[in-house]
Symmetry: C2
Subunit: 261 residues, 2 copies
């Protein structure tokens, strides 16, 4: 593996954008043996000017340098437009969006997707070995370069088409945003009774750990699964907030539908 | 800390019940320096007979031995009845239930609660340092013995009254059962498009990790928080299952209520 990496040909990258994903990618590529960020473009250099001693900073799209791959890591709405403005043809241009179709990129270039399926926080250094990449290309010959990019930052990667990627983006809303809202509800109802939220943290961790090895279907337990009406009614009586109550009822129903109760 | 543990007086325990919690507690106490399970009672010895060379196994409640604490780890519905049948008075008797009030124990004995807030799997050895105990007593003098029990198995512990414990039990349903059902939905919609569920596992872990240090309120991201109607509608169109759709809408609404959108 290491031998292979050392033999890998240097990949020249132009990075486009200055948001969370772009910044984390920049830092990861910087540490990689066989990736060179030859230029970092953003419409305003304000956010990236601090890196001007490490790489070429640029805010004129017509001045983009030659590279093996152009990575557009900006908000979904702006990707198509920026891809149209690129001042060259037949280069490999990829975006990092979970929901934009690969055809959202202007067809004058070879198109691809390099979507990291993870939640990114500013200021927290990311371990890219925990960031799986969804890779898509239109021309087979472009696959190795995206694979090498992922390998260079020790990320797992999967070939995922645009239709699948949309589903993954949706699934990510369930396991990240919606799950986090359930944590929030637990925090809220605990706070009201002066209960330290720390007590719940090991259970939160263990619930996530369990499904790393066991399917969520088999991992399920609790009053909804057992159809324990006494406990369910007791819980509903404890809830004041109407939305919390609706969520309790709906997820209880969903568990029972899944398990055929 | 270690010095203290070594000086601790041996606690004699009689364990009542043969379910998941009882079995995990037995194994943890067995390894502890200053806890001795002097007897293990169950109405049928079938499930625990394999331990007869290590401790005294018993199925006659009238034959219970003298001990410092009697731990009733059986199903909620049966606790009150078993506590009434105990053939002694003024001993410390605790249950391990998340939802039963401390007064659910017969008042002829000194009462307490020793509730482990964690999800238990059969056959998987448990690390009790990840199992916080909710401790409750009616008489202050009984507190040290429950604290020592928790310390002896390296578990964190919190003083939690019966009202708070009910809320924690409810909160646990949100962060464990309901969260697991969201994982299940993600698994289901991924399967339909032949997507490997493994891709989502790092995100599941990171979502749980994040709230170990940041409040769920601050950890929130995504289309609901941004009120990104375009993405929300796109997602709703991708969902066929009515319950999945209802959950998407309701949790989106909940996130927006929480964040005042």
């Amino acid at each position: 593996m290491y031998y292979l990496l050392n033999l890998a040909i240097m990949i020249k990258v132009v990075l486009i954008g200055a948001g969370n994903v772009a910044c984390h990618l920049y830092k990861a590529f910087k540490k990689a043996d066989a990736v060179e960020v030859v230029q970092w473009y953003n419409r305003s250099t304000h956010a990236i000017i601090q890196y001007q001693n490490e790489t070429e900073i640029c805010d004129k799209i017509n001045n983009l340098k030659d590279a093996d791959v152009y990575i557009i890591a900006i908000s979904d709405d702006a990707i198509t437009n920026v891809s149209r403005k690129l001042p060259f043809n037949d280069k490999l241009v990829v975006h990092t969006s979970g929901s934009l179709n690969i055809h959202g990129l202007d067809k004058k270039n070879r198109r691809g997707v390099f979507y990291p399926l993870q939640t990114f926080s500013k200021d927290v250094e990311l371990d890219f070995s925990n960031v799986p990449f969804c890779i898509e290309v239109l021309e087979k010959k472009d696959l190795p370069i995206l694979k090498q990019l992922a390998e260079q930052i020790y990320s797992p990667f999967y070939k995922i088409n645009s239709e699948q990627r949309q589903i993954l983006h949706l699934a990510a809303v369930y396991v990240n945003n919606f799950t986090n809202q359930l944590y929030r509800i637990a925090h809220e109802i605990s706070d009201i009774k002066n209960i330290n939220f720390d007590i719940l943290k090991p259970l939160i961790s263990e619930t996530a750990n369990k499904v790393q090895n066991v399917s969520p279907y088999l991992a399920q337990t609790g009053p909804a699964l057992r159809n324990d009406k006494k406990t369910i009614n007791k819980h509903l009586k404890l809830l004041d907030n109407e939305t919390h109550k609706e969520i309790y009822k709906l997820l209880t129903k969903a568990i029972q539908e899944t398990h055929g109760k």
